[in-house]
């Protein structure tokens, strides 16, 4: 087990560079990841704003950007997707909050390998810089979609942005893979080896379980993405033909043959499907944490929740083919992937019912973090329910590559997962910064975002069923889409309001950091280990002593206890219940 002296054989660092730039402290590194994700999400949101404007005003000339040509629209959506999936959804919930709170919640003074941790952040940062650089090189950013399908992405003359821009894109992703693998290594070792005395695996908060399983998913998936990316770089630059069959581009026969575009799809989606579970599982852990804390009830069915997280993780590796139903695969393979995809609905449903069970007959404290947690459940159900539709190959035939898919993944990744991040921010802000965020602004932010995102993404299901393809730039040029333009217009106006609402969050975040009312050590009266220590936590997390754990993480409303909650480190025994 870990003791402070074992890992922290050095005093707190001095000097600005050691303290804030190349810090080895997991708390600083967690915040570095969080702020990187914050920058990335505003970049990604700006790109989506340009997309939304272009869809309903295709000929508009915008300040700074000029006119958005169809190929530029494709670059916008490529970079929007890539930045959001990698630098926001894979970074903030796992590397951001996970780095900050996993060690504290298990009673450790730091991560297992602090130097590796520091390197993993700065490698992620380099990956982000390389990605952004793609906008500024000749030809601009690539236009092949965040999914980067070959042979479009594997050749350099397939469009603007497909020369240096695409090379930077692939390189950025490859560097990101290495950074993620380093991070996953740290998370897994820390969870297995650094738990404090009494903190058994089945006493860990569900956030820790989520970070642990997510790290395992990342460990096994990012290696495959790395190989996919390296093969792509070879095809693009050294003339190999891993992905490129005999093709003709602009009337010219290319000097490639024998490659398989399907190889890219398999390699990418073998990574890509676990990736979306990497994006959602930490937010599920946060939701469990918040729902329990703010309803003053233990999470319903803790053990089932743990097994459900594991089941989602394992099943997530055998469903990648459902992204390829329209690729010409054998219907028998499609059947197998379809069954496994629908099987994931079972643990997901178990988790959903358990969240509802936690809320049932509880005394809810409706603070901002709780609103986002309940909102998460709502959005997870809304976004998740369209999944089984897409999981049927027969239904996927008309729905593939339509707005139905866009609505599905935005509701579940782009909103539900983000609500997990928001909820975690409002919840842990007092612990990280020693001050409370403004509750009124938090509630306003929640309601505007909740209603706004439903307004943006629910109509997309209708658009998809009506046959509206995704990634189309000029809607006015396609006759059968004319009747759907009013829906797009509505979605764009909803997007304006929702994006504006995020500035309320930004102002609240930075204002409260400096001027918010001072927070106590445990303002939410929560039970887990981070609330036992000072606000903000000292350098070694627990001020020189090692916590000892006596209880599970959700001892709320315990009969016979002095208060309506029992902290994990409270040595008072409670009667079995």
């Amino acid at each position: 087990m870990a003791t402070s002296a074992t890992i922290h054989a050095h005093a707190a660092p001095q000097g600005f560079i050691r303290k804030y730039i190349f810090s080895l402290d997991h708390k600083v590194i967690g915040l570095q990841y969080y702020f990187l994700a914050l920058i990335a999400v505003f970049v990604g949101m700006f790109l989506s704003l340009l997309m939304r404007i272009h869809l309903i005003w295709p000929t508009a000339v915008l300040p700074l950007v000029g006119e958005i040509k169809p190929e530029t629209y494709l670059s916008l959506l490529t970079m929007h997707g890539t930045i959001m999936v990698f630098f926001v959804l894979t970074t903030a919930p796992q590397s951001g909050f996970g780095n900050y709170f996993l060690p504290i919640q298990i009673g450790a003074p730091d991560m297992a390998f602090p130097v590796l941790n520091m390197l993993s952040f700065w490698t992620t940062f380099v990956a982000f810089v390389v990605m952004i650089a793609a906008f500024f090189v000749t030809g601009g950013a690539p236009l092949h979609g965040w999914t980067g399908y070959a042979p479009l992405s594997a050749l350099t003359n397939t469009g603007p942005g497909e020369q240096l821009g695409a090379d930077l894109w692939v390189t950025s992703i490859a560097v990101f893979c290495i950074a993620s693998l380093m991070g996953a290594l740290n998370f897994i070792t820390t969870t297995l080896d650094l738990r404090a005395k009494g903190m058994t695996m089945m006493r860990m908060p569900l956030t820790c379980w989520a970070w642990f399983i997510t790290a395992i998913l990342g460990l096994l998936a990012f290696g495959v993405l790395l190989s996919a990316g390296i093969l792509l770089l070879l095809d693009r630059n050294l003339g190999t033909s891993f992905y490129v069959p005999l093709v003709v581009v602009n009337g010219q026969v290319m000097a490639h043959k024998g490659g398989s575009p399907l190889l890219w799809q398999h390699l990418f989606w073998f990574f890509g499907h676990p990736e979306v579970y990497i994006a959602i599982l930490p937010s599920m852990g946060v939701a469990s944490q918040l729902l329990s804390t703010f309803s003053r009830k233990p999470i319903f069915g803790y053990r089932a929740m743990v097994y459900a997280i594991m089941a989602i993780g394992i099943l997530g590796f055998v469903v990648w083919g459902h992204h390829m139903f329209m690729s010409g695969m054998s219907p028998y393979s499609a059947f197998a992937f379809s069954i496994m995809t629908m099987a994931i609905g079972v643990p997901s449903a178990i988790k959903t019912f358990n969240w509802l069970g936690t809320l049932h007959k509880s005394k809810i404290r409706f603070y901002a973090p709780m609103l986002f947690a309940v909102g998460f459940v709502s959005l997870f159900v809304s976004g998740g329910l369209s999944g089984p539709f897409l999981a049927q190959p027969v239904l996927d035939i008309p729905l593939h590559d339509t707005y139905f898919v866009v609505g599905h993944f935005h509701l579940i990744m782009g909103v539900a997962s983000i609500f997990g991040i928001f909820g975690a921010t409002y919840y842990w802000f007092p612990k990280m910064f020693g001050r409370m965020m403004n509750e009124g602004l938090g509630k306003l932010h929640f309601w505007l975002t909740f209603v706004g995102t439903y307004a943006i993404f629910m109509p997309m299901h209708y658009l998809g069923m009506a046959g509206h393809p995704r990634r189309y730039s000029q809607l006015t040029e396609v006759a059968y889409l004319h009747n759907l333009i009013p829906v797009q217009t509505f979605m764009t106006y909803a997007a304006f309001i929702t994006i504006a609402a995020q500035f309320i969050f930004l102002i609240n975040l930075f204002w409260s950091m400096f001027k918010g009312p001072k927070a106590s050590d445990n303002p939410w009266e929560a039970t887990t280990l981070e609330w036992t220590t000072a606000t903000p936590p000292p350098h070694d997390n627990f001020g020189g002593h090692t916590p000892v754990v006596y209880h599970g993480p959700y001892e709320y409303g315990v009969p016979g206890a002095a208060k309506d909650y029992v902290m994990q480190t409270d040595p008072t025994p409670v009667t079995a219940h």
Binding site: M1, A5, T6, L185, L192, L219, S227, P245, L246, H545
Partner: protein
């Protein structure tokens, strides 16, 4: 029972050579680190080995994904535009078998010397406290520089792989010549990059011995790198077997 270990300022651990007598580094159960400020090297070693085991998983997945691409591509018929029919266009690469076997021998030898150096430094770390007892001598143990020999053999393997590439080029197989040649270069290069990383870490381990870092700390570096080295050897055997028997 609740017990809180007190904060102890940790002083830099002295090596076994000279200075005071230290208790064995690996005894005392889990709390060995808190009592006297001496870092628990046993725990650190276990943690480092755990970290390595976890790190080997994505490396394995990386090579598995390339291997599965190799196998499928080998059996994939492709369109021949001249005859407008599907043909199998897999051209077996003429591998320089002798040279590759020599390289394999070098790597096998380096694995043996890596293991010898791992055991050597394990003994040194175990005996370090004994040497500090006044009047006790272990005699002059023949200290062969197994670590340096491993670095040399590893470097020799990499040089041999470079020669193999040159031989392939002479035989007309470049990276983009055929699908099979692309995979040969890709697999050998990827393995070589990982092995080179191991060589650099071994060099680091060899050099820090000159910087008087405690032998227990050096042992951890050598131990973990030696296990990594064995994995790299087995990986090479797998790659070579694939490229030769499934050519």
């Amino acid at each position: 029972m609740a017990s809180l270990s007190s904060t102890v300022p940790v002083k830099l651990p002295e090596t076994g050579q000279g200075g005071g007598v230290h208790p064995p580094a690996y005894g005392g159960g889990g709390d060995g680190g808190g009592g006297d400020g001496y870092p628990d090297y046993g725990q650190r070693l276990r943690r480092a080995r755990l970290g390595l085991a976890i790190a080997l998983a994505p490396i394995f997945m990386f090579f598995v994904s390339i291997t599965s691409a190799y196998i499928v591509r080998q059996g994939l018929p492709t369109l021949d535009d001249k005859t407008n029919s599907y043909v199998h266009d897999w051209i077996p690469v003429q591998l320089p078998l002798g040279l590759l076997l020599v390289n394999t021998g070098l790597l096998a030898a380096s694995s043996i010397t890596a293991e010898l150096s791992r055991r050597q430094i394990t003994r040194q770390a175990a005996l370090a406290p004994v040497k500090s007892i006044p009047g006790v001598s272990l005699g002059d143990e023949r200290r062969l520089p197994w670590l340096y020999v491993t670095v040399l053999l590893g470097g020799g393997f990499l040089a041999g792989q470079w020669l193999a590439w040159q031989e392939l080029a002479t035989r007309g197989f470049y990276i983009a010549t055929s699908a099979s040649s692309s995979f040969v270069y890709l697999l050998t290069a990827a393995h070589g990059v990982h092995l080179a990383g191991g060589v650099l870490v071994l060099l680091y381990a060899a050099t820090i011995s000159l910087l008087n870092k405690p032998v227990e700390a050096r042992r951890i570096v050598v131990d973990v790198t030696a296990w990594y080295w064995h994995f790299m050897f087995l990986l090479w055997v797998g790659i070579f077997a694939l490229l030769w028997f499934a050519r």
